[in-house]
């Protein structure tokens, strides 16, 4: 059993004020995340993270299963993690779906779930007094999910409906196409939604779904996070009571690594509706590592090269007005992934010109690193924006979900921000050379019907 306990005082919003007031250089690694936390791993492997904070008598209750589209390794099974997320609301013998819904309704919980490439999240916002009721329900469904074949097949219609609503979006369309083109082997090549032909085949996969639950929905593949008005001691006792019987046995899938990309890929994505052209560049990048200074540098570079105060943004969006939007970002993934740069071009005739401008913006940084002052502005913005978002229990939990699911521990926050604060201008320059290599990118262009 691994136990770590941070002794920080419950500072709430005052802690936020204190942290923000500290000069960057004085922000020691262990002090960046402003709230007390308690991390513990049960004997069955379930990771527990508790974040007590003043929240007006409310709690945010999250279960993170570290299985997502990444784990869909078998042919014809894309989108299954997302589909299974829907099945998790279909009840158990003790609490059939109708009873589960009635209890959730009676206590006025806000309940939802989502699936990503690396994990699936189930979350509820509840009154603190309903904690045990919810823990009884949640621990039960994660151990004893039970549904009929008919119910399973009915849910397939809802998932197909979700795909149908998404496909109207040109951004969803190009994102789906870009991912498929950028990855030959790795499961990041498909979105969490899955391919339409696989979604249509889902009603036939009842037996497969039982095995999916058995392999992946295990405590040693899951994290329980509770944020808000709670006391650590009694809450831990309750967790051990309700989750202690959950049997470990996670079976890790064999995920084929993506071979090194050695040449640029270009695709054109068609969109049946009318749309301005969207250009999406995906540069290969390493897996998330909070101590990896080069990845942190690439992250900051995105703002410096493509952010709203960048030279390129000023030129393309504000002055020449060739594009309507320009954005970029690195991804926090368990396996090597991509850095995204995307823009919507106002005139199809300018697509190549915009691509050239993007290349020149990167070349400019390779040639001349940003000034220390420019870099400091980005670092300061990142810290302020991150901390200012931690203003409610539900927001804290929402912000922490991915970093917990990907890295497995909350201290990653402090590690990452420490790493980020150590990035120097020459690191940005090196990141531009290392990651923004045109031979290791995929360029997708969406063109709509005119």
């Amino acid at each position: 059993m691994n136990i770590s306990f941070s002794c920080r005082a419950i500072l709430g919003l005052s802690a936020l004020a204190l942290t923000l007031s500290m000069p960057t250089a004085l922000q020691a690694q262990e002090r960046f995340f402003p709230y007390e936390s308690h991390s513990e791993t049960l004997d069955n492997g379930l990771s527990v993270v508790l974040i007590p904070m003043e929240s007006g008598g409310l709690l945010s209750y999250w279960t993170l299963v570290r299985t997502g589209a990444r784990d869909e390794v078998e042919p014809g099974r894309t989108g299954f993690a997302h589909f299974f997320e829907h099945m998790m609301f279909r009840g158990t013998e003790k609490y059939p779906a109708e009873k589960f819904n009635e209890i959730i309704t009676r206590i006025g919980a806000s309940s939802n779930a989502y699936t990503t490439d690396d994990f699936t999240a189930y979350h509820l916002d509840i009154a603190a007094g309903d904690l045990e009721t919810v823990m009884d329900l949640e621990s039960d469904r994660f151990q004893n999910l039970s549904y009929s074949k008919a119910v399973f097949q009915t849910e397939a219609g809802a998932v197909y409906g979700e795909y149908r609503k998404n496909r109207a979006s040109p951004f969803f369309t190009i994102y789906e196409g870009m991912r498929q083109a950028a990855f030959d082997e790795h499961t990041y090549g498909h979105t969490a939604m899955g391919y339409v032909q696989d979604i249509q085949g889902m009603p036939q996969l009842f037996d497969y779904s039982l095995g999916f639950f058995d392999r992946f929905y295990r405590p040693d593949n899951s994290i329980l996070m509770i944020v808000g008005d709670l006391e650590v001691g009694p809450t831990m006792e309750m967790i051990k009571k309700y989750y202690g019987s959950w049997k470990s046995g996670y079976q890790s899938p064999e995920i084929t690594p993506e071979p090194e990309q050695k040449a640029e890929r270009r695709i054109e994505v068609s969109y049946e509706g009318s749309s301005l052209p969207i250009v999406w560049l995906a540069y290969k990048s390493p897996a998330f590592d909070p101590a990896d200074k080069s990845l942190a540098a690439a992250d900051l570079l995105c703002d410096l090269a493509f952010g709203e105060t960048s030279t390129l943004y000023n030129k393309l969006v504000l002055e020449e007005q060739l594009v309507e939007l320009l954005d970029s970002g690195t991804n926090m993934n368990r396996d090597p992934s991509v850095i995204d740069v995307y823009t919507r071009v106002k005139d199809p005739a300018n697509v190549e010109r915009v691509l050239q401008e993007i290349d020149q913006a990167i070349a400019a940084i390779v040639e001349n690193p940003p000034s220390a002052e420019e870099l400091e502005k980005v670092q300061k913005r990142r810290k302020y924006s991150f901390l200012m978002a931690l203003d409610a229990a539900s927001n804290v939990a929402s912000m922490m979900a991915r970093i917990l699911a990907v890295s497995g521990e909350l201290k990653t926050v402090d590690t990452y921000f420490t790493t980020m604060s150590e990035v120097a201008p020459e690191d940005i320059q090196e990141a531009a050379r290392t990651y923004f290599d045109s031979q290791r990118r995929t360029v997708a262009v969406l063109k709509g019907a005119q």
Binding site: L13, S55, G108, A158, M193, E324, E376, K380, A393, I403
Partner: protein, 518 residues
């Protein structure tokens, strides 16, 4: 349910939240006090003190909206708002403003809605000096540069021509319904306007609209968080520098009475069906009847919630689509948010049912199912059990509506819009809820809801086929890939022949490339 997250988004929270977050809310327990009033300086205030909050939230509420767009200039309010929030000032170019705001991780944004406009922002107390300077400068001294005008007008046109028409069928359906219900009134067009209206706008139009509506008698100052009295006085003094002028005033919105059930089909090649239907209702926040109807609506169609009865009937039991909900207050961008938005307060509201995207072949069956459920509710009322369960649900669920100072300030501004004094809408709702009776709720249903006079909007790729089914009241039997219980199959027979009752000549079709043209 899915979402796309990346590392940069994760550490750039405001953008990340705006694009991706499911907004989860709660009524905070931090010590706070609220006050609405005005001082001799003249500018009314809405103040929400939260001394422990190290940030300050700003909300400048101007009493105009898209209903104040001049005829033929639809979209002018939205473009003027954009010019103030995303353009240069007399002191700074827009790139300079972005550069100054950037390290603060702060920004100010405008939301122009039908009947109100808010300019909002948030800054850490360390950064108030610069933020206040930039915010007040934006309001008092916009430069109205041609370059900004060209950029923002182009964006607004694209939001109509490609985004609304082609990139989100569900929002298109809802916009088509409002346009249909409020036809020939100033409330018909989307906030972004019409294509012809926006194309006609000139920089001079924007300047004149600003002069008319951005005046000191048309603004309320909202502050929330860790501000002090000095900031209140400073902001009031700044806003008092706005030109003198008249409040925007009310606009007569009198939609034609709806005769029977009428349908508007939006033909979009290749599209599945996205359906909305509804009719105007005359209820406002603060009125007891609204809270009674709120209970009924929560049971019928609570937004993004499995407790919604429509969700249970159409999605959960039959698997026809992703979700089905109902509303008695405006809820824009419903596909992207979990909790109700703030600062979309309106005197003109509709009752609205939203049937999410589904195959065209099942569209009329789903429409029938929803109409039938509303019909049954109007005729039979809620049961005692459903009433008590829903009341229990709402007693706690509404606590999630406003978790942050920003959210709570937004509610306070809306309270001012509706003239609600004291603790405000959410607190009043909490007080009224335990005293409501089933009889009151059912009386409110009978008084405000009906199914005989309503309008239906359907975005579809098969308008011709749907028109025939609707006009001929053709049965729409349904089959499933999975077995269903005898009870469901028996009910399906009733649903598939439920009278559509479309008024004679009550179906019209518009091509997607023509909708919101003028």
């Amino acid at each position: 349910m899915k979402r796309f997250e990346n590392l940069s988004r994760w550490v750039s929270a405001p953008l990340w939240l705006a694009l991706l977050a499911v907004v989860l809310t709660a009524c905070g327990g931090t010590k706070e006090s609220g006050d609405t009033g005005s001082t001799p300086a003249g500018v009314p205030t809405v103040l929400l003190e939260v001394p422990t909050d190290p940030t300050v939230s700003f909300s400048l509420w101007f009493k105009f909206g898209s209903i104040h767009d001049p005829s033929g200039k639809e979209g002018l309010a939205a473009l003027t708002g954009s010019m103030v929030a995303a353009g240069a000032t007399e002191k700074h170019s827009y790139p300079e403003i972005l550069d100054k705001l950037y390290p603060l991780a702060s920004s100010y944004e405008v939301r122009v809605d039908k009947e109100m406009t808010t300019l909002t922002g948030r800054a850490h107390v360390d950064n108030l000096e610069l933020f206040v300077e930039l915010l007040t400068d934006a309001v008092l001294s916009p430069a109205f540069e041609q370059g900004d005008f060209d950029r923002l007008k182009s964006n607004q046109l694209n939001s109509l021509k490609t985004q609304l028409r082609f990139a989100d069928d569900e929002e298109l359906g809802k916009a088509a319904l409002r346009d249909f219900i409020y036809r020939d009134t100033a409330n018909a067009h989307p906030v972004a306007g019409t294509v012809a209206g926006v194309e006609s706008l000139t920089l001079e139009d924007v300047k004149q609209f600003y002069q008319r509506h951005f005046n000191k008698n048309n603004v309320t100052l909202g502050l929330g968080g860790g501000f002090d009295q000095a900031l209140v006085e400073r902001m009031q003094a700044s806003l008092a520098q706005l030109p003198d002028g008249e409040p925007s005033g009310s606009v007569a919105i009198e939609p034609a009475a709806i005769e029977g059930r009428r349908v508007r089909l939006v033909q979009k090649p290749g599209a599945d069906a996205s359906i909305s239907f509804g009719f105007p209702i005359d209820l406002k926040r603060g009125e007891r009847e609204l809270y009674a109807l709120w209970v009924a609506n929560s049971w019928l169609g609570e937004h993004r919630n499995t407790s919604s009865h429509l969700f249970q009937v159409i999605r959960e039991l039959r698997g026809l689509n992703y979700g089905d909900y109902s509303y008695i207050e405006a809820f824009p961008e419903g596909g992207r948010r979990q909790m109700p938005p703030v600062n979309v307060a309106r005197r003109h509201q509709i009752f609205e049912v939203w049937i999410r995207t589904l195959p065209n072949a099942q569209a009329i069956f789903a429409l029938r199912a929803a109409l039938r459920e509303v019909d049954k509710l109007v005729q039979d009322g809620m049961s005692e059990d459903d009433f008590e369960l829903t009341r229990s649900f709402m007693t706690k669920y509404h606590l999630h509506f406003a978790p942050t100072t920003e959210n709570r300030l937004g509610y306070r501004i809306d309270d001012s819009f509706y003239g609600i004094e004291g603790k405000g809408h959410l607190a009043r709702f909490a007080e009224v809820l335990p005293t409501l009776t089933l009889e009151e709720v059912n009386a409110a249903i009978r008084k405000h809801w009906q199914v005989d006079r309503l309008k239906i909007a359907i975005v579809t790729g098969e308008a011709e086929a749907l028109e025939q089914t609707l006009a001929q009241n053709e049965p729409t039997p349904i089959s499933y890939e999975s077995p269903k219980s005898p009870e469901i199959l028996e009910e399906d027979k009733e649903i598939s022949t439920y009278p559509l009752g479309i008024a004679e000549g009550g179906i019209e079709t518009v091509a997607v490339e023509d909708i919101f043209q003028e």
